[in-house]
Each structure stands twice: as structure tokens, then as C-alpha cells.
Subunit: 675 residues, 3 copies
């Protein structure tokens, strides 16, 4: 049990607030306070992108307005999350120090503009950032309303400037012990005459340069995470020096492809993220949209250790950057907020409190519209959310317990995406992971989203789709997990390469895993979209196969299903092998969801996990503080859903329920004694 | 009544003529004269792109060939439009003065080539252009065959070179009174820390620079129009100094997106344009293609004041740059020529007289083919057109009168296109305007295409689709139009931003228009392509809704239709409110064409406009010189069309008609006493 | 009869071998020899991309490993093809001499990386290449195992650096006798004021420069071939000096669009190419895939004169760079190998022997997988191929005789592709040529693929689809072919431009061909994809028309078919005219395949060619050494195919056959006395 902010009672409700856009409108600033209180806002985020107001000219600082705002908020019971303002740079800074701007893979330096544009390696930028952070933290770090530092904003992207490239070479020298032959071997550079004779010859994978060395491509991505983390640690270090007791976070963005968040997460006190699902789209069910959001929540939770995480940004109405910015239908705002809490968030926060009048996000949803009224549909939904967060406050600090885990690894994703073979279009690692998560979710089994080197011992079942790259130690971790009683489910494309993307010799899955699974894969067939095959299970069930199928040579595994068609008909498609106290499954082809779920259901049941029968479109999970369980039921359909077995006191209504009937888009949070 | 060129009797027939490509072929030049006379050509355009022949080396001039050609033409009754040759630059000029070439948004200077490539701000280019223009006008400005100056050719594009950027900053200093804080407020730069501390920090919206400030993006487009106009005025100034009595034009290109033609039009004596419809395509009816062409004609006419305009270029056969360069079917050439006249053009001119043998446009249609014969289908159709223009000469100088107008505004288009919200793919401002024009056309009601700040008092009905941006004074202009008896029809996305793209506070449509319409829009819903809604009219009629729907809060307007579906079913979708002597309609959603036409028909009828019942695919409008009316009927279908009520003397046949039956693709021009 | 390599008995079996990737693995190198012998490998290619191993630092050479490998191979009966290592550059070379890297059309110099990246004009690169080639040839040129030099690898691409541009200007000065006015006329530069006053003003057609002059665009492509050939000749010259008796080749890539292989072929002793068909795809029948491959084989054969050619690279299993890298199904490997031999190849070689562990091609198919076993399906199929090549050895050195030819010309393709007109999307020159080849193949008539200026006298029928550009002498060559008894079949888009892309005046097809065909084309209609027309033959047969239709004016040809629809219904669509002893056909529109085949069948039959009735999906052709004929029958379907008339001794089985029944994917090679 871990309450994030002892100062704030229960769950946080709030969002980004930009009063600096309205300093000439005292009436509006006053109205903001009134409306925040009406909406049960208890926390706002200030100072994101405020550098040019803090320091309108180099060395000239203005914080008095900020202090006044924080005072006024605090006096009204509203706490402040304060951002470092480095998410965007003042124009004078770029004009004076162009070397602080990024260089793209084309080798061209950006011009002033947009948001994230500073070179993470730039000494000049760090010098200027240090000054403004010290000024800000020095002035307001001791404010009683301050509860959290928010580092920059949505850190992302990369820089290929000469300084970054030099840092990359230093990084490589260190990694390969200054021995260029170690690097040559690890990157298999003899191919295509790509051997380097010196570290100085290495460049980033630029658009018009070297893009064909898998090891280089992967290492550049690792370096970029390292360099971004290094920059972030620089900001954190300054803050910890001045305000050692204020925790720090930065806001993540889903499964952002360019940074390994797990590396960054280690440096943060609290994990937070920004959630912008495309509700009511035309390509999936609403419950699918919610499921993807739950996957992202689970990923954040799994990086948070014992703590709740924060939903730092979400849209009160709509966003402005989707291809179709459709309104969130009535009730969805509340449902998504309750989903966040169900997944382990102790906050529901928004971007943004009030819409600005101009520039790129003037139509991004906000609690308060240009209209300025507190009787809009959106405002009333936010107000209701505030009431519901108050009603759920008992759940604050409690934890979600997951009986299963999914391996989702950035390095694996990078290597798979860069793998030249199979089918670029069909690999779809992220989508494949998400589909597995959904299958478990339908059975009422919550998964953590973990890395291949994490401790897996607490999970009854671990799904490891397309575990193409094995980091050092990963094979051993998986073997040990199985031998100690775990059920591991691997698929086609497992264990092809080591952490430098060198193929394992002697059979896939490599690094000893052929033993664990009792087989090797001789060939990988890639199917055209109109091709298909099928898996015939020993019980006669047939499911269809698309995209990928491995031809397996089984040594000592049990065959669960065989191929039904094509020249490898009759050969094994799915196998299982007992090992120690556990079991290792191998699914050699991309089965349809029915096929995957059949396997998962078998595994979960045999592992003794609680598999539920939930109505279609109802999401379920439990938070627990050890004393009480909080069971969340979310009806994501447009019709009633009956849950005859649900029981407990519904925090939202205060009433005891023995059996539930949820209306369309309705949620219930049933408190009961912990199991 | 205004005859464009008193020297030329009636309507002009002619086109671009490039004898400089054939100076070594006396036989061909002689044949040209013979064939022009056969085809009833009375005017040609010379000198477009002739700089490298006029001045093959710097300072060495050759005009003797041109004089000889103009003499020969004049002796044969053919007048000359003479172009300034700045549409393309000689290779020596670019080689010697690279600073005169343009820089793209990537920040890279173009190399020599193509056509429009000179920096409009370049002092060096103006110096060189002045020399050649003075030489040309000095030598041939007094030629008796000269009737018009044609400035450069199809002015377009933009330049982002340092000189242009410096001019942009000067332009901004002037606009914002040298006060950077005025600019910061107008562009809402506090958002994302985008405040400028000095005008010197501002750059054009370069590809790798600032693209997120709506005000900057819009102002850059305004500046580009200003700068292009400034350059054009420089050329005009030279010519007016030397030949004050010769009028000037430049050729526009439809609704060209990058320049506000209304600003340029003010500097021209005559409006002209180039028309290249995609006849017989696979995505619309032939009459739709004609309707789009009529829209463009109407736009040109509406910029021409009391004068006729010129169809400066059109293709005798086909063009070479469409994705599918299909032949114009027999009869279409004549029909399109007569359409031009019906819309107010007093010319039918071509690009080009004779096909060149090589380079990019060697397959662009021409009167004379590489074949060189005068018995081709195309030549005979051109010859017939010449005869028809002679037959219609009485209509020369007369005017089209329009009872309705459509607001189409470049600044509105730019702001809408740049608006980050709703749906980029679905905004379709230009298409939406065109659809409204088509609806009126089907009812036989011609529209002028005007700006939101134009005098609207002469129109019975004004349609103002998606009037997103309100220029200063526009709201007042509309209010006053309505109060004085006008019928204004506005739609969703009206009045969101002011002329700097700042959102209006307190309700859309802003700047006081909520009063005029008696409502405000609380939310804008954007639908996915597969989503739909419907509008249920009070009379029970139902029409479908796609793409956009506003949720309206009505104060004191009458409800004409309500939404039929979704969570806002039953709320108002279409309203009307009397105001003074007129009426303001608000259409909150994108209705289908039947729905729009129902509303338009009601408005037009109530306004006392003459709504006609025309056969499908027949186009109709009237030119009048006050004494006679010339009613044009164009059958754009492949079957007969009966017009029992048409009467008058058909100029094309010389016969009196009481009731008409038009054959496929046939036109009639009925003269009668003016009403 | 010409045996390629007297040292090697019969047909070659082998592939690229990269032992330099495994120098630290003696066990693997040893295993390679064992497995090669098992697979009946008699030749490998060494040294492609080995520069960085040969010369790890500038001036430091290592060939001892190579010598050892060649010795070991030779001792085991395996010969060596040795590549010059210039297909990729060592990193130190690019780091030290950046001027040796290419510049793209954007004007940006590449960075180190990938493969082909050296400037063909760079003196520095030639200096460095000369050193390494002299070292290599000096050291190993006399090795008894060496049978062939392989120049660089898959030469391709272009360079736009200042040196190349200067060479281009020199090339132009020479071509146009130093007379810029000759060039101006040939390129029709008066259009758009594009006249050059000096050769120094000319640039390559850069992205941001001049792209609109057809003559320049074409000449740049010619120059690029010239420059690449010049570079290749430089390498060849060095080798011929050191090892005058070792033949040279370089590996071509299908109908590679950027180089005119016929120009390069003249400098080579042997033609070789790399074949990577997309077997089992989802857009065509398997036999279509084989037919395209046969077309490419035929092109290589036709450049080889009397000699067999070499299949230098093919994939044992799959490749790694197709969108879907599907496994080659059982039997296809053998069938494709036998197809190569049937088309005139005396080798079946692979890229590659053993998969490397890393970098871009780690998943490219190889004889030996990462798995390292000799019992894989792929290994066994390669082993079988080896046996079959031994069985077919009698056919080595024999020739394919073709009774028909297809004109396929790079310059024509370049001009057509660059032609601004008709429809960019629909021209499809290469596909159109392929379709004609397929039509003949179905009738059992093999075609050579020749140039418009080649000697055509040995062919009974010549198909010349879309012969848009006529090189000097081509019209005369065609006329003379017909007059001497040949049957020429031309189509729409014939004879529009001369070799500078200037349109012919006075009628298409130009350069006198209107006489040969007895007609001229007045207009070219381009149809939208949904448009269609039809050709009605005099015998009543009707076939459909898409894309293109010319309106023909016939003077003295016989009309074979007329248009059935649209405004030119009833006018001629297909004609024939006797001329001398032969006949010239003109097909004015893009007929469907049935229509084309009807015409081809008539021509072939009338010409006395042997037209066969083959089962659908069976490929057939004959090699002959004058003494014996080798008839190849390939069943490319998944079912049995009966060939009752086939007879001879099947080399693959050793049995005499009178009538054949081929199993799915089975081939037969029937030896009989030469006809």
C-alpha cells in the first residue's frame, strides 16, 4: 500500500493549466478557480512550455506570476505539479545558440520551432537548462502546494548532430572495450566489406549512409535511450539537489517506439503517461479500444513496482490530431477514468484545463471551452468524474495483482522491425502482443507487461510472443522460470538472434532453448495475405493460420497440433514439453485468436488461475490493499450486461450489490474483504 | 457594356504562338498564317518564355524576328498579345546570378530549370527583368498590332530565401506596428513557449522549422501574395511608364491555392485565366466537369467588375499532364468555348497554336499537330469555333447578371486547411463551395463568387459555406446584408477564428454572429467515413449527414430540421432567424445535396429569385447588354434535351426559336429584348 | 558449340562463398568442403565484397587466407570465380577520400555505407581500385583453380557529383561537335526559354533543377551507361593486362532500368545474371512467374551471341528482401534450375553457400543454414540439382534457337517513361513486352530479345511493341527486314520521336515508316481505367481494348480489324501491308491477350514457324548442338501434364520416352537427333 501524495487526500483530479496565456485576463484566472472547485479539481500541472515567459530574454527572469497562481490555487485546495520548462525552447535561445538544436538523420540541423528540438548532448543547452531549472526550483521548490516535479514533457526523438555522434562513438568504445574487432565480430561487418578499422569511422545510421548493419541500427537505438536518459538524469540531478523530497516523473507515451521506457523508468520516482485512445473509430469495437488502453496502463503499472502510476494527460472531449476527431460519447469519459484507476492509476488528469485561443492545439479538448461555460456537456462529465474519484478514494494506494505476464521488450521490437526477412508488413510485433493481452483480458485474467529479464516467478503463465532477440541471460531466466513451475508460451520467431542481432548457430530457438522446447525450427514460411494454412489439434479442433509458419523438427516435445495443409501438412505446429515443475509451449505459426485462446485457457486452467466467463465487452480487474479488494467491472457496450456473480459494496453508488446489471457504458467498483 | 479591345471586332479567337521555335522554317511560318486565317484566328499571344531568344547572351538583344512576325500577323488581320518574358529565365542568367533563383521550404536553393524559379524579392532579378522589359516595350510597345500586355506567365509558387525572409520580417514589423508583443498576442505564442523576443527571430514556416503557429502560417501566405503582387506591380509599372494606353493582364489558374487572386486582380486591367478541365473522366458526369469550369469562370468574372474577362488558355485537343490524357470528344471543344462566353469571357484562346517538337509539352494539344495538316478533327473543330465566335459577336461586351453569390475566400481556405482539428481529410473547403455552386446552377441561378468583405447588396441569396475565419468587418458586412433584406446561409464551422486565427471567446459563430443566427455551437462532432447521421425537417423530409455535425444551443432561431440519430438526436440541426428585413440560416451539419438544395430552393423562392426547371445536364445563364439578353443553353449530355420555354433568335443558327430541342452536346444562344 | 570453361566438365554448380566471415572457425571451413562435395558443387565465387579483409588498413594487404581457401577448393575439385572487390568500399577509404562517394540527384554526397557508392568518375577511387585489383590479380591470377573474373558486383546506380557532371559536359561537347546550337535544336530548348548559351551551363537533371527537357533526361541516362561502362572497362583493362586468358563477366540484374546492358555486354566475355523470381505469389500463376524469368534468361542469352550465359546468382530457398519471403515449394528449385539450362545457361549458381550470422542478408536463402545441417529440405534439393546438372551435362555448350524476336530497347524504355503525355501509369512498356513474350511462349515459340538496330534476318516474326523512339537507322533496319521477307508487328505509340526525342513531323510512325505500314496516326486516345473499346476483326471476332487507341488514317494497308465503339467506331484498328517479300502489321490499340495471340498465330503460321499446342502451364524450348536436340518440357502446374508427341531419351532419367506424362512440377529433357 503506497499513497502517492500524502498531502492530497485520495485520488488526483486535474490537468495541465496554462494561466500564462491569460495573464492579461484577471477575470478568466478568477473564473478558473471557481470552475476548478466546481469540477472537484485538486491538482494542476503548471509550467509545461513556460520557458519563454519565465525568461523572455536571456538572463531576465519572471516567476512572480507563477508564485501568485500557485498561491491562489493552494489557498483553494489545489496542489501543483510543476514542470521543468525544457519541452520547448525560447526563440532567443535557438537564435543565439543554434548548436543546441537537433540534427535529423538527413544530416540537416533543424530550425527553431515545434517542441522537442534540443540536442541531448549539447553542453550549451544543458548550461541554459540548468540556469532556468535552478531559478525555477530555487524560487518555487519550497512552495507548500508543490507535490511533484514533471521533467520536461513527452521526451522523445533523437539527434544526429556531430556531438551526439561523437558521444555514440564513446559509448561504443566503452561497450566494446575499445576493441574494434569485438565490434566487427558482433556486427558481422565482414559482410558487404563493412569492417571498421577504427571507432572514428562509425556514424549513426543516417538516411544517406549506413543502414544495413543490424547491430549498428540496434545499438544506435540503445544509445538514443541512453543519451535521453542521461539528459533526463541531468535534470533530475539538479532538482534532487535543490528539493530532495519532491518526487519526479516524466510523462510517457504508450509504447513509444523510439525509447526503451524501462531504462528511463529506473530513474523516476513515479511513472506517468498520456492516454489518447481513438474511441468510436471505424476499425474496431469500443471494447478493443479500451483493451489497448488497458494494455498501455498495464505497461505503466508494470514499470511502477509497488506504486500506483499516474494518468498524467487525457482528453476531456476530443483531441485535435487524430485523422477524425470524433466526440467522446456521453459516459465514455467516466468509463475511461474508472478504467485508469482499475489498472492502477491514482490520478485522472487532463490536457488541458482551458483551451488556448491560438496555435497548434487550440482545438485540443479541454475542461473549459472557448465558450467559457460550466454547463457544457464536457464540463458536466468532468464534474461527474470528480465526484466519482472522490467516491473511489478508498482504492487509492492499492495494487493490481496479475496472475499472468506478457513479455514485451523494446529491444526485441527494434530488432524485429529491423530484421530484413519474413515480411516487413506482417511482423506486427506490437499488435501481436496486444492481441495476446486481449485474449487474457476476455478471460478476466490481468497481465503485467514485463521484460524478458524480469523476475517472472510470481506469474502462473507467461506469454512470450515473437521473442526474436534474446538478451544476455534471457534464455536462462526463461528456463529457470519453467523449471520452477512456470508455464511459458513461446511462438514462431523465437530466439533467432543474440543481443547484437547475430543469428544463433545450430538451431532456433537459440541459446539453449531448443532443449527447453524439445525442438528446432528448420524453416520459416512467410505467407502472402491471401495464403492460409490451418492447425489441427489432437482433439480435432481446427484453427486457421496466417502470415507465418515454422517447419519444426521435434525431438522430445508433445505435439498439440499439426499443420493441416501445404507441403508441411502433418508436421507439428504446436507443442508442449514438461521441464522441471513447469511446461514450455511452442506455437510454430500465427494462429487465429480462437486457437491462441484455446491454448491460453488450457494453460491457465492447468496452472490454477481463475478464468472467468465475462459478458462480451465487459472488462474486469481487481485492486487490493491487502485488506479490501476493489473489483472493477466496466461495461464497454451499448447494451446492458448482467454479472450475476458480482458482489460487494459499489463505491460509486454506496450500495451493496449481489449480482450486477450494468447499463450501457456503466461501471461498478465493488469493495469486499480481500481474498 | 464594355468592349475589351475596340480594335478587335467582337470576340477574340487565338492562342499562344511560338514562332521562335521555327525561325529556321520559313515554310512553316508562312503556313501558320494561312492556317490561322482559315481557323478565324484574330489574336495570338507572343513572347511567353522568349527571353533566351530575345537575349541569348547577357546584354545582346534580338527583336527583329518578333517585329517581322508581328508585322506579318498584323498585315493579315491578326492582333498580338505580348508577354513579358519573365516566366522563365535564360540559363546564363541563373549561371551568373544564382541568387535570383528561389529557395524552397527545405531551405535549399533551386538549380536552373523548369519555369517559375525567380525570387520575387531579388534585386538582381528585377534589374535584369527591367532591362529586358524596357528593351521589349521600347521596341514593340508602339506596334499597331499590340493590344495587351501579358505579365510573365501563370505567376505562382513562393520563395524562402534570406531576402524573402527579411522582407517578411519587414512586412510583419509594419503590420504589427513594430511591437513584438502585438504579434505574440495575435499568434498566441505563449503556447508551447513560442514567444518571440524580437522580429529578427521570426522565420518562414520552413519544413524543418516552425510549422505549428496558425497565425504565422497564415501570415506567410498573405505575405507571399503581397510579395508576388509587389513583383507583378514592378513589371506593370515599367509597362505603364512606356505604354500607358496598353492594358495589362496576367493569366490566373483556377482557384490556385497559393495566391489570393483578389489581391492581384486589383492591379490588373483585365482578368484572364487558363482552363484545362478533365473532360470525360471516370469520377463524375460530364456536366459536373462543366460545372466546375463554370465555377472557375464565375470566379474570374466576379473579379472583373463590369468588364468581360478572357479565357487566355485552353486545350484544343487534350493536355499532356493529366493522369489520363483522353481526347476531348467531338463537339466538346465548341461547347466549352460557348460556355466560356456564356460565363462572361469575350475570348477563346488556346495553348497552343502549334505543337513544338520537343521538351516537356511536345504532346500538349494544339491547333496544329506535328502532322501539320488542316484536315484533322481538331483543326476542324477549332475552325468551327472560330465561326461560332463570329456568330456570337453581338454578345461581346455584355455582362452576366447573378442573383446569388457564394462566399469563397482564400484566407478562409488557408486557415481552414491549416486548422489542426476536425478532420484534415474531410474539410474539403473548395469541393464544398463547388457543390453549392452546382446546386444553384441546376436551378438555373447563376452565382457570383465573392469575398466576405465584398458588397453583397445586389444578391438575393448569399451562401457562405464553412466561413471559418472572419476578416475584420466581415461579421458586420454579413449582419448588414441580412438586415437590409438579404438571405444569408451559413454552415457548421462558421466564425471560429478572427483574422489572426485566434478563436473567438464566448461562442461560435463569433464576432457577434451568435446574435445574428440566434444560437451558438457547443461542440463539433467529426464523423468517421462510415458514420452517418440524418436531419429530420419539420415537414418530415429526411436527408443524410456525413463528416461534420455541430451540437447547437438555440436562443431565438426557428428550428428547420433536427438531428435524427446519435446522442444529440432531437437537437437542432438547421435553423433560420429573421433579422431586420432579411434572414440568417444556419446549417449545423454537412447535409447531402438534396438537403442543401431543399434549403436553397426555399430561400431563393422566398427571395423572389427565378428558379428554373432545367433538364438534367443542361446549363443555362444569361448575358445582357441592357438592350438585349443573350440566353445560353448548353446540353452537356449525350442525348437530346427539350427546352419548351426557350425563345429568341439563336445566334449560332440565325433562326428564331420558340422552344428548343438540343442535340447531344449542342448549344444555343438565344437573343431577345432585355427584360 | 561453345563450352564456357573447358576446365570444368559440363555444367557449373555453385555459388557465392564467403569464407572470410568464418576465418576463426576452421571447423566450419572444413565442413564447407565436405558439404560442397556432397552437393556436387564444382565452382564457387570468392571475393565479392572482400576489400576490407584484403586491405584492412590502407596499403596493408592480406591474401594468404584466400590462397589457402582456393587451394583447398581446388584440391577438392572445386573451381573459383574471383570477383574484384569494388562492390563495396572499406570504411577507411570513405573516411579518407570522401570525394570517392556518390552524390545523389538531390546534390547531396552520400555517407559511408551500403554497397554501390563509388563515383565512377573519381580519379581517387580508380587509383585505389587499381591498387587492390593489381594486388589481387598479381597474387591469385595464376591460380590453377581460377576460371573467371567477376567484375565488381551488380553494377548500378548513378552519380551526380561535380566530376561526373563535368564528364557529362565533355560527353555532350563531343556528341554535339562542340556546337551548342546543335544541342539547342536537338533538345528543342527554345521551348520554355531553355536555350543554353554554353555547354558549361548544362547540369544533370537534378531533383531541384532541370527535369523538363526530354533530350537532356535521355542523354543523362545514356551518359550514365557510358560512364559505368567506362569504369567497368577500366577494371577489365587491368585484368586483361595481368591475366589475358581469364575471361571476364559482371552480373546483370534482369531488365535493370538504369543501365543499357547491351552497351556493357559488348565489353564482357561472358554474360551472367542474378535471378530472384517471386514464386508462389498472390498476383499471378506460377507459370507466369516462370515466364517472366524465361524472358530475362532470353534477354541474357540474346546478348551472349553464340555462347551460353551464366545464371550467376539464385536463391536456394528464399530471399530476404521481397515483401513476402515465402519458401520455394518442393521441386521448384530443380524446375527453375532446369529452366535456366533450357534457356541457354550453362550454370546454376547461388547466392549464397552459407548464411552469414549478421547484417542485412542474414536471412537470405543459402545452401547451408544457420542450423548447419546437410539433411535440411533445402540442402537435399540443392544436392538433387547437382545430380540433375550432371545428368544434363551433354547439353553444355549447345544453343537455343529462336524463330521469333521481340524488340526491347532501353533507350525506347527511357524515352517512353519520360514521355509527358498519354498516361504515366498506363504506359507499362516492360510489362507489355513481357506479355508479348508470354504469348509466343504459350505457342511453343521461343523469342530472342533484341534491339531495334540488331540484325533481324534470322527471325520469321518480329514483335515490336510501343517502339516509340527510333534510333538512327532503326526505321531502315525494319523496312529492310520486311522487304526481305520478315513479318513485323508494330503497335500504337510507334515512331513518335527520333533519338533526341524530337517528334517526327508529317505523321507517326515517322522516319518513313508511314510508307511501310501504309497509314498515319492522327490522334492517340488515352482511356481511363474504366473506359473500354473493342476491335472487331473482319472474321467477326471481337476483342477488348484498354488504355490506348490510335485513330488511324490508312492509305494503302489492309484492314484486319476496326474499332467497335466510341466516336471512332468503324475506323481501322489493326492493319497489314505487304512490302517486298514480307509484311508490316500495325496494331493501333492495346488489345487484350486473345486479340494479340490471334494476330501472332496468324503471322507465325503464315511465316511457317512451328506453332505448338502445349498444355496450359507447360514451358517448352529446345537447345541444340547441331548434332543433338535437347527438348526441355517444364510442367509448372500442380497437376499432371500429358505430352503425347514428346519423344527422345530423357537425360534426367536416362530412359527413352515416346509420349510423356509429367508429374506436378516435373521436367524432362529429351535428347534426340538434331532436326
Amino acid at each position: 500500500m503506497s499513497i502517492l501524495f500524502p498531502k492530497v487526500d485520495g485520488l488526483l483530479h486535474g490537468g495541465d493549466y496554462n494561466p500564462e496565456q491569460w495573464l492579461d485576463r484577471e477575470d478568466i484566472l478568477k473564473e478558473d478557480i471557481r470552475m476548478m472547485k466546481k469540477a472537484h479539481i485538486n491538482t494542476v500541472t503548471l509550467g509545461v512550455f513556460s520557458w519563454s515567459v519565465y525568461e523572455p530574454a536571456e538572463g531576465e527572469f519572471h516567476f512572480e506570476w507563477l508564485e501568485k497562481i500557485m498561491d491562489s490555487l493552494y489557498e483553494n485546495g489545489i496542489y501543483t505539479v510543476l514542470a521543468t520548462p525544457t519541452g520547448a525552447r525560447p526563440a532567443w535561445l535557438d537564435a543565439r545558440y543554434p548548436e543546441a538544436m537537433r540534427v535529423t538523420r538527413d544530416g540537416v540541423r533543424n530550425r527553431h520551432g515545434l517542441r522537442h528540438n534540443h540536442c541531448m548532448s549539447s553542453e550549451k543547452f544543458r548550461e541554459k537548462a540548468e540556469i532556468i531549472i535552478r531559478e525555477l526550483a530555487g524560487r518555487l521548490g519550497g512552495h507548500p502546494g508543490l507535490i511533484l516535479w514533471h521533467i520536461s514533457n513527452e521526451l522523445g526523438g533523437e539527434c544526429c548532430c556531430p556531438s551526439c555522434q561523437e558521444r555514440f562513438r564513446e559509448y561504443l568504445r566503452k561497450k566494446f572495450d575499445g576493441d574494434i574487432e569485438k565490434l566487427n565480430h558482433a556486427w558481422w561487418t565482414t559482410f558487404w566489406s563493412h569492417r571498421f578499422s577504427d571507432f572514428d569511422e562509425i556514424e549513426a545510421p543516417m538516411t544517406n549512409g549506413e543502414g544495413s548493419i543490424g547491430g549498428l541500427n540496434l545499438e544506435w537505438k540503445r544509445f538514443n535511450t541512453w543519451n535521453m536518459t542521461d539528459y533526463m538524469k541531468f535534470e533530475i540531478g539538479l532538482l534532487k539537489e535543490i528539493t530532495p523530497d519532491i518526487p519526479v516523473t516524466t510523462n510517457f507515451m504508450k509504447t513509444y517506439p523510439y525509447l526503451d521506457y524501462r531504462v528511463m523508468a529506473k530513474e523516476l520516482d513515479i511513472i506517468s503517461w498520456d492516454s489518447y485512445p481513438r474511441f468510436h473509430n471505424d476499425y474496431e469495437e469500443l471494447s478493443d479500444t479500451f483493451a489497448e488502453n488497458a494494455f498501455d496502463h498495464a505497461l505503466m503499472r508494470s514499470m511502477s513496482g509497488d506504486k500506483p502510476f499516474m494518468l498524467m494527460e487525457s482528453a476531456p472531449g476530443l483531441v485535435n490530431w487524430h485523422p477524425f476527431n470524433k466526440l467522446k460519447r456521453p459516459g465514455i469519459h467516466s468509463l475511461a477514468g474508472i478504467q485508469a484507476v482499475s489498472c492502477g492509476s491514482d490520478t485522472v488528469q487532463y490536457f488541458q484545463w482551458r483551451k488556448g485561443r491560438g496555435s497548434y492545439e487550440q482545438y485540443h479538448g479541454a475542461v473549459v471551452d472557448h465558450l467559457g461555460r460550466d454547463d457544457t456537456r464536457i464540463f458536466r462529465e468532468v464534474e461527474k468524474m470528480g465526484e466519482e474519484l472522490l467516491a473511489m478514494k478508498a482504492a487509492a494506494g492499492s495494487r493490481v495483482k496479475a496472475e499472468a505476464a506478457l513479455l514485451f521488450d523494446w529491444e526485441n521490437r527494434w530488432a524485429l522491425d529491423d530484421m530484413a526477412g519474413a515480411s516487413q508488413e506482417k511482423k506486427q510485433y506490437e499488435k501481436t502482443c496486444l492481441l495476446q493481452y486481449k485474449s487474457f483480458l476476455r478471460m478476466g485474467v490481468e497481465m503485467d507487461i514485463v521484460s524478458m529479464n524480469d523476475d517472472l516467478s510470481s506469474y502462473k503463465v507467461v506469454a512470450a510472443p515473437m521473442l526474436y532477440l534474446l538478451k544476455n541471460g534471457a534464455a536462462e531466466n526463461l528456463r529457470s522460470y519453467v523449471e520452477n513451475g512456470g508455464r511459458l508460451i513461446a511462438t514462431y520467431l523465437t530466439g533467432y538472434v543474440d543481443e547484437n542481432t547475430l543469428c544463433y548457430l545450430g538451431g532456433f530457438p537459440g541459446d539453449g532453448l531448443t532443449e527447453l522446447f524439445g525442438l528446432y525450427s528448420e524453416e520459416l514460411d512467410t505467407l502472402y495475405p491471401s495464403d492460409k494454412n490451418e492447425a489441427v489439434f489432437t482433439d480435432g479442433t481446427i484453427c486457421s493460420i496466417r502470415d507465418f509458419a515454422e517447419i519444426l523438427k521435434v525431438k522430445d516435445a508433445d505435439i498439440v497440433a499439426s499443420y493441416g495443409m501445404d507441403f508441411y501438412a502433418g508436421t507439428p505446429a504446436v507443442t508442449r514439453k514438461r521441464s522441471g515443475m513447469g511446461e514450455a509451449w511452442y506455437i510454430g505459426a500465427r494462429l487465429d485468436q480462437a486457437g491462441m485462446e484455446k491454448i491460453y485457457r488450457t494453460c491457465l486452467t492447468e496452472a490454477g488461475a481463475a478464468v472467468m466467463e465475462l459478458p462480451e465487452g465487459v472488462e474486469y480487474r481487481v485492486r487490493s490493499d491487502g485488506e479490501h479488494d476493489y473489483a472493477f467491472y466496466l461495461n464497454e457496450t451499448d447494451h446492458e450486461a448482467a454479472l450475476p456473480d458480482a458482489s460487494g459494496v459499489d463505491l460509486l453508488t454506496g450500495k451493496r450489490a449481489e449480482g450486477l446489471t450494468l447499463r450501457a457504458y456503466e461501471a461498478a467498483v465493488l469493495e469486499s474483504d480481500a481474498l
